[in-house]
């Protein structure tokens, strides 16, 4: 038997975080822009000049 949800019951933090669409959008963008895009650009930018030995 399941109890019906109480009107004033605050959902757990994780549930509220998962329900926060804009937080998820921000995190998704931020992680991608740092780990993939930012780091990737840094890899290319810091590549040494070749000496053609």
């Amino acid at each position: 038997m399941t109890d019906p949800p109480e009107k004033d019951e605050t959902p757990p933090l994780m549930q509220r975080l998962f329900d926060n669409m804009f937080l998820l959008l921000f995190l998704g963008m931020a992680i991608m822009l740092v780990v993939y895009t930012g780091w990737g650009l840094w890899e290319v930018a810091t590549m040494p000049q070749g000496t053609l030995p």
Binding site: T2, D3, P4, P5, E6, E9, P11, P12, M14, Q15, F18, M47, P48, Q49, G50, T51, L52, P53
Partner: protein, 200 residues
Amino acid sequence: MLTKVHTGLDPVPGVWWKPAHRAEKIWVAVAFVWCMVLFAMMPLWHWRGGQNPAGIRTRVKPGDFYARTMEFAKQYKVGEDRGFPIVQPPPGSDVYLTGLTFQWYPILQLVKGERYRLHMSSLDVGHGFSLFPMNVNFQVVPGYDYALDVTPNAAGDFRIICNEFCGIGHHTMVGRVIVLDEKGQALSDNPGARILGGRP
């Protein structure tokens, strides 16, 4: 105490952050461990495996790389085939290969079991280095020198297929790599081009 039975189309009132059933937990745990195995395999192969795309990667001017390639070809030229120099560099040395529309320059002649530092770049647009038939593939990007230490493990007469679209002549772009056996013998005649060794 589970949430009421509902489908993915139903909104979910109340608290749905609830523990999973044991079977689900076990599957998630198994999947998680598998993901860790998948992840660990890559650094592991860098450490203990024989094939890695790390290499020594530098920036170059396309024109400079091509000039260096031509100099290299002149220095170690041992023959010619269909207009291309056959170049046999000493083991352990820097070897240069340029992709340009629509050819691979020069023809390399290597020895089985010896190590070479193969530098690859393009004079013009992007090309795809695909060593046939063993299916070794790398991206060849103008402006970048991709230097990889390679050790042929079989003698034979191989081809380099271009597998990155580079224009209307893309499908005519084929190069050649000859690998001599330990005694320095070629295993095929020129231009017989029998492919030996490697995987089917």
